[in-house]
Each structure stands twice: as C-alpha cells, then as structure tokens.
Amino acid sequence: MEESKSIDMQKEEKIVEEEKTIELHTIKKEKLQFQRFTRLNRVLHILMIVSFISLALTGMTLKFSYTGWAVFLSHLFGGFESAGYIHRFFAVVMVSVFLTHLFDLFKMKMREKKTWKGLIFSKDSIMFNRNDVKDIIGTLKWFLGMGERPQYDRWTYWEKFDYFAVFWGIFVIGSTGLTLWFPETMTSILPGWFINVATIIHSDEALLATGFIFTIHFFNTHLRPEKFPMDIVIFSGRTSLEEYKIDRPAEYKKLVESGELEKYLVEPYPTIVIRAIKVFGWIALSLGFSIIVWIIYAMIFAYR
C-alpha cells in the first residue's frame, strides 16, 4: 500500500546495512531484491484478505440464502447467529486494519513533518495526480496498439483505484452495517425504512466489492499473463530488481539517478517462506474464485 520511500529508507536502513554486510561476507553470489512494501503494510493486507473473505462468505449466506451452498456454509459457520458473530468480528478486524493504516499515515506525517496537504499531494503519494491521466491515456493507446507501454511510476492508476475503493467501501458498507448491527439504536435517529435501504446498500455494495476484488483486482495483480499465476510481492514485499526495472521504469530510473536504490535492496526470503506465502495465496485465490462461481450461480442460475 501507500508508503513513502523516505520512510522505508529510514526505517529499514539499518536492516539493509546489516543484510548487505551479511551478503558481502557470506552469500555474495545471492541476488538482492527490491523491497516495495513495509512489514506493517504486508501484515495489514493479509488481515484485510482474511477479514474480507470471511465477511464475504458469512454475509453471502444471507444474500444467497436461497442456494444450497448458503445453507451448507451457514451450518459450517455454526448457524446464522454464529455466522453473524464471525461477520461482526471480522468487520471489527477490517475497520481496525483501516484505522491502523490511517494511524500509520499520521505517524508518517509526523515523521516527515509534512502537512496533510503536503503528504497527500506529494510526488510519491498514492493520490491521483495529473500523471495518472497521462498514464490512462497511454495505457489505452498501448492496449489498442497505438503506442508503447507507459513508464509507470511508483503507483499505477489501477492500484490507486483499488486503494481508494477501500475507503469508499469501508464508509458505505461500514455505516450500513452498523445500522443493521444496531437497528434499535439507529432507528432512534433514522426512520424504520432506513433499515430496508441499508440492507440493499450493504448487500449490493458488498457484492460490488467482492465481485471487483475477485475478478478485476485478481486479474490486475495476479492473473494478467505477465504475473500469472500470482504475484506474491504484497506478501513478501520483495521483487527482483530486473522485474522491478521493467515493471516500474519511471521509479527505477528516479532511484538510480538519486542514488537511493541501494537503500531498498534486501535479501530474498528463504524458499520455505516463499512456499508458505504461495500456499496462503492459493487459498485466498481459490476462495475468491469460489465466491465468484457462487455469485454467478446464485445470481444467474438459482435466482428466484
């Protein structure tokens, strides 16, 4: 997710130095990798995956209650009440992930002594900027064979879209979710019919989120042929320098020019860690695809 290089630099400078020393002395031949994501961001993303899939599965047992799968899953979760507890527990987890990230941003602001405006609109910020318009146009031209692949910077526009979709989703699904969680309290302010409306919004927005993540986001990050079958960078945080050079040429160029590239070079994870990451990735992908299959089945073949 969003993270400033300068923080990365400060934070992991020592580690990098140590790793470099170890590398120089012991495994000189090992290739160093480029680190894109901090440990906190990776942990938050894993928590996000776990909570998102759990919320999707438990929530859809109600949305698609007319399918046999919903009945099966609901019982697997220990009944509708138990599924409800699981749903609300992971809702809290997801909101906590969101708040932790906001807190992390706040810490970064303090560290870099920037104003919010300065932070949000900085060069490496994940906020949309003018360059994204150029990238979108460039990308469309590339798609249509009218130009070369754009020189993507640190964050591509689709990554930015995914990032802000979470903000939107947390707000929309979270607020309607609270209404459904505390209907008696909520209706002391809101009219009774708002519960009906909240149900529709919560459910359809969740459908949009799951549908989007498990198809578009999966394709953008894992399934597009150059990354197929999956890109584990979000879990490992590391990517090979060669791949990075091709993938994000603009950022690479900048780092080389500024001479800061060295700061992001880290030693790769041992094979066992990579294997564990891949197992987790496969599980997440399978669950995601299963949910898509279930959605398609429920909405097209079993709809009543």
Binding site: T61, L62, K63, S65, Y66, A70, V71, S74, H75, G79, F80, E81, L140, W142, F143, L144, G145, R149, W158, L180, P183, E184, T185, T187, S188, L190, P191, G192, W193, I195, N196, V197, T199, I200, I201, D204, E205, L207, L208, G211, F212, T215, I216, F219, N220, R224, P225, E226, F228, E242, E243, I246
Partner: protein
C-alpha cells in the same frame, strides 16, 4: 228338626276342627237349660218381608233375607243363628244392634288368614274402604266357588278385585297401591287373556298370586309376592320353569344391580306378563357342551372352540351366548342349527350399529366389499374387552395399531385409497398426537377415532364427515376449544370474512396426520410455505428480508408469519385488536426486539425493491446500486479485456528482456 240340625252340624264340624267339636258338645250339653235354638223359619217369619228395615250405625238398611237365595246358597243347610251367633236363644223381637255374621266360626283358617292380611288389618284399624268377607263373598247368597255363579268364581275374580283396585276407584286413589292400571294390564296380559278371553279357569287370577285371604303388600316378608317368595308363587303353576329357564335375559339386571339375582317380575312385570317380549333361548352351558372342546372345528376347518375363561373375562361375561347368537332355536334338537347368520351387535348396540351402517366401513360392507371391516375386525368376537382395558385393541393407545391393520401403506385400505394422505400411520406416530399418545402415554391425546369418530368414519368429501372442511374446526375444537373460538373471530373465519375463496381450516396449516409442535423448528419453517399457499406475494417478499433469509437457511429463530400476525387470532391491521394495529405493533416487535420503538416498527417487514409504487425508496436505491455495480464492472471489464491480449504479448517481451539481462549480467 233340632236333632237333624244337630246331626248336620256334627257332620260338618267333624271335618273342620277338634276345638270346634268340643264347643259343639258343650253347646249340646247346655242346650236344654240355657240355649233354645231358633229355626230358620222363625227368623224368616219376619225377614222374608222385603219391606223390613232395620237400623245400623244410625242408617236405615234393608234386613230382608231372600229365602229362595238362601236355600240355593252353599249355606242352605246352615241355621241363621250358626252365623248370627249372638242371636242364638234370644227372644223375639231380638236386640237392635246385631253383630256381624261370624264366618270364622266355621271358616277358622280363612278368618285367620284374612285377619293377618292387609284387608283384615285395615278393618281392625277401622278403614271404611277395607273389604269384609261379604264384600267379596256376598252374604246370604254365597255360592260354591266352583259354581260359575259364585262371586269368587275364577273368571269373576279380576272384576271383583278390580271393583276396588281398578283405576280411579277410591282404594286406588286414596290408598298407597304401588301398581297402576292393574285391571287393564292384567286383562291384556298372558294370564288375563287366557282367563278372560280363552275362558281357561285354571289361568291365574288375582288370588292365585296374592292368595285369597292373606293378601299382603310385596314389602311384607310373608307376602306371596315378596321378592323372595315370588319364584315360589310362580312355580306353583310354572313348576318346571327353572329348568327350562336357564337364560339370562338382556343382561340388563346385572348392570343395574350386579349382585342380585333376578326374580320373575324383574323380567315379567306383574300384571303385564307377556310372552312375546322374550326370545326363546338356550343356556351357555348347553352351547359349551360342544364349543368348550378345543378341537371343535367347522366344516371349513375354522376352530369353533370358545375359551370359557377368556369369555368370562370379557366385557360380555354376563351376556349369554344366545343373546348374540339369537337365532338359536331351543325347540330344535340342535338349537344352534338355527344360527344361519353372523352376530348382529346392533341388537344391543343400536346406536353404534346405526353409525356403522352410515360410515364408509358400513357402506362398503353393505356392498359386500371383502375389505370392509365389521364389528369383530376391531373389537374381536367372543373375548371383547372394554375400551378402558389397556389390553383391548380399542384402548386409546392401541387404536393406531388397530387402524394400521388396514390403513398402513400397502394394506388393503391404503391401497384402495386415492386421496392425498399417504404414510398415514407413520406420519401420525411421528406427529405431536402420536408422540403424546405413544411416547408420553397420554390417553387424552387424540387418536384416530377422536377425529374420525369410532363408528361413523366417512371420507372428508362427505358433508357430514367429522373431517369434512366445514366440520374440521369443531372436530379439533372438541379438545382445542379455546383455539376454535379464537379462529371463529379471526379473519380466517367464514363468520367474519365473506368470500368465495377457500378459507383455511385447521389441517390446511397443521396438516391432517403430520401435526407437529408449533414451536418446533420443522413447523416454524414450514409455516411460510403454508401461509404462502394463499398469500404468495407476502411470503415471497418476506424472504427478501432478514427474517426470511435466515428462515430459508433453515433456522427457526427469526420471526415467522404468526410471530407478528398471530396464529389463530389473525385480524386485519385496521382492527385495533390486531397484533399489527397501530396500537399493538410496537409491542409485537418488542416480543423479540426489546428496544423496539415506534420508528423501529416502521421497518418494512415485507418490503421488496420490485415495487416502485409501494416502496419507491427501496426501488430506486436498488437500481442506483445496480447502476453503480454495472457501471463499475463495465468500465473495469472493458479495461481488463483490452489488457489481456496486450499482456500476453508483453509477457513474451518481458521473458526475452529478463533473459537478455541475465546474459548481460553474466
């Protein structure tokens, strides 16, 4: 004359009694001195005058004596003073207050009997209605009892007694006489007809049973008609009756007074004795002579053995064989050859018999259908037990097993049945009634016969059937009375809602045989389907809500139709008494949602986004969200599809580049 008279008296008295003889000897010995006997002619000198009158108790009465009658009477040879003993030897004209004639001076036994009898006792008490000797026998004109002219000739007795004991006579009205219409009943009875119509002088008249002189009420132990003496009295004529009369008639007396043996009049009411009332019969012992043998078989091989021990343990222990097998003919050499038909239980069980003949079982039987059950199929034959006996097949808890003999799937009744109810017995056993009856052992739980009746089972299509649509509520209401009343006042009642559509009755929701606990998950989950049979739109929209979604997942906890609408007391929302009226709605929500408020109750429990007019907010929210969804997927989808071919190409380039760089590095 005097001596001749004496001789006659001697001859008569010798045949009467010894004390009288002594008296007479005494009279003769004293005859010449004190007593001078008068001749009848002396008396008749005056008393043959038919205008002669005398006074008695202040009344003027005729004292005329018809000498002609006297001479033809049984007392023609008796001197006046033999009876009017107080006048013997008195001079003419004799004293005014003459004592009544003393019949007892000759008829001592009769006199004693009379005095001990009710008539004599009443006289002694001065009852003016009580009869004296002459009331019945006459006075100077007494004829021999064998003379048809006698006042006490058998054929005249009923009328003689009837003169006081007929309906409306002072005795019958003013004295306590337990019987009514004595004379009429007697003259119509077997005895009366024989005597009065057939002229059989030996037929019993009043005196035959009541005795001529010692007439006593039946409450007197000495009475000939006292309970303990009746048999003796009757057997004076019906001497052999006890031998030919070993039958028990109708078994009724034992029901009334179980330990008292019947006497003749229990069956043959006094004065009304009729022959035609009773079937000829034979005694159980006569039947058991053959049927008590275990190896007795009919021509077609059926066992004809009757286990007398089991028979005596049956409810019919006091019923004789011939009461059921009533065509036995005791006048035949083998009385049972008279039995040509099966036992007709309705001889005694008339009401049940009538109900049976109206039932489908009876209708099939009338059509000679081989599957039709008769009484014995359910009740058994000789060893019938009361339905209160737990061993009886008709005991409450045994009825499902009994009916299952034919109605279990695969059995004759189930095979020929074409309706919608299947697996009836299994379903019943698993139902709340079946579990209550068979698992909890509650004998008050409804069993087959409680709904279908015991003897008048009819298909539901029959308008008079207990399970006909129109009668179901009252059938169930026999136990569930309160529910029936609630339903009667609800929107589902034909009394409240006038409609051409079918209004639901008990079994539409609860089913006929699968009736389950309404608080059990099974029923709670079925009810939406059941209500939905009629209220389809509302059932569908219910499933669009959280309540419905959870229900559809198979959980009973969330609100079901009747949690909000009520079960049997459903009323239109406009009715203030309705669970969902403005006044009650919040309270209804509070049953589950403790914190419910008026605003909370504004939740649309049947809302759907398919109705733009009724629920515009939901309709537009849904389509707004759908628009967002479709729009997002369209843009992202196009982006992805365009990317795909380019990405494949890029993958190849990338591989080349990476390998090139590897080479460069090396």
């Amino acid at each position: 004359m005097n001596y001749r008279c004496c001789y006659k008296i001697i001859r008569k008295t010798i045949f009467s009694s010894f004390p009288k003889l002594l008296l007479f000897i005494f009279l003769i010995l004293n005859g010449n001195s004190a007593v001078q006997a008068q001749s009848n002619d002396d008396c008749l000198m005056c008393h043959s005058d038919n205008t002669l009158t005398g006074k008695k108790n202040g009344k003027t009465i005729s004292v005329f004596v018809n000498s002609k009658e006297l001479k033809t009477s049984v007392h023609s040879d008796v001197q006046c003073v033999d009876c009017h003993v107080d006048l013997a030897g008195s001079d003419f004209p004799h004293k005014k207050n003459v004592a009544p004639a003393q019949c007892g001076s000759c008829h001592g036994n009769s006199q004693t009997d009379y005095s001990e009898g009710i008539h004599g006792k009443r006289i002694a008490k001065g009852d003016p209605l009580a009869p004296r000797c002459q009331t019945c026998h006459g006075s100077h004109d007494i004829k021999n009892v064998k003379d048809p002219q006698s006042a006490v000739a058998p054929i005249k007795i009923p009328f003689l007694c009837g003169s006081c004991h007929r309906e409306g006579a002072p005795v019958q009205v003013q004295r306590k006489i337990p019987e009514n219409h004595i004379l009429e009943n007697y003259s119509e009875s077997l005895h009366g007809v024989a005597l009065l119509q057939k002229g059989l002088a030996v037929a019993p008249n009043c005196a035959s049973c009541h005795s001529p002189h010692k007439i006593l009420p039946p409450t007197d132990a000495q009475s000939t008609i006292a309970r303990q003496n009746i048999a003796k009295t009757c057997t004076k004529c019906h001497a052999e009756i006890e031998i030919v009369h070993r039958k028990i008639i109708q078994g009724k007396l034992w029901e009334k007074t179980p330990h008292v043996l019947p006497v003749c009049i229990d069956c043959h009411p006094p004065h009304k004795i009729q022959k035609v009332l009773y079937e000829q019969s034979v005694a159980n012992q006569d039947c058991l002579n053959c049927h008590g043998r275990t190896n007795l078989k009919s021509a077609d091989g059926r066992s004809m053995f009757v286990d007398v021990v089991r028979l005596q343990n049956s409810i019919h222990s006091q019923v004789s064989c011939s009461q059921c097998h009533n065509t036995v003919n005791p006048s035949l050499l083998r009385p049972c050859t008279g039995i040509t038909s099966k036992v007709d239980c309705s001889i005694c069980h008339a009401q049940e018999g009538e109900q049976y003949s109206e039932s489908i079982h009876g209708q099939l039987f009338a059509k000679k259908d081989s599957n039709a059950p008769t009484c014995v199929e359910c009740h058994g034959s000789h060893y019938v037990l009361a339905n209160t006996n737990p061993v009886s097949p008709t005991f409450h808890t045994n009825i499902p097993t009994l009916c299952a003999k034919c109605h279990r799937d695969g059995e004759p009744a189930a095979v020929r049945y074409t309706g919608t109810e299947h697996d009836i017995i299994h379903n019943y056993v698993e139902s709340i009634h079946g579990k209550g009856l068979l698992k909890s052992g509650l004998t008050v739980t409804a069993t087959c016969t409680d709904c279908h009746t015991a003897h008048r089972e009819l298909p539901h299509s029959d308008p008079t059937s207990s399970v006909n649509r129109n009668n179901i509520a009252s059938t169930c209401g026999r136990c569930h009375y309160g529910i029936e009343k609630q339903l009667e006042n609800s929107v589902h009642s034909p009394l409240i809602t006038k409609t051409d559509k079918k209004l639901p009755v008990c079994n539409d929701c609860h089913t006929a045989h699968k009736i389950s606990r309404t608080d059990a998950a099974g029923f709670r989950l079925e009810i939406m389907q059941i209500c939905g049979n009629c209220h389809q739109k509302y059932a569908e929209s219910y499933f669009d809500t959280y309540h419905g979604q959870v229900s559809r997942l198979g959980y009973a906890k969330t609100a079901k139709c009747w949690d909000c609408h009520g079960a049997h007391d459903i009323l239109p929302v406009e009715n203030p008494a309705s669970h969902l009226s403005f006044q009650n709605k919040v309270q209804t929500c509070k049953k589950c949602h403790e914190g419910a408020t008026r605003q909370f109750a504004g939740y649309f429990t049947h809302a759907t986004h398919h109705e733009p007019v009724k629920y515009p907010i939901m309709f537009w929210t849904f389509w707004g969200m759908t628009g967002l969804l479709v729009g997002t997927f369209f843009i992202a989808g196009v982006h992805t599809l365009l990317w795909l071919p380019r990405s494949i190409q890029y993958r190849k380039e990338l591989k080349k580049k990476l390998s090139n760089e590897d080479e460069d590095l090396e």
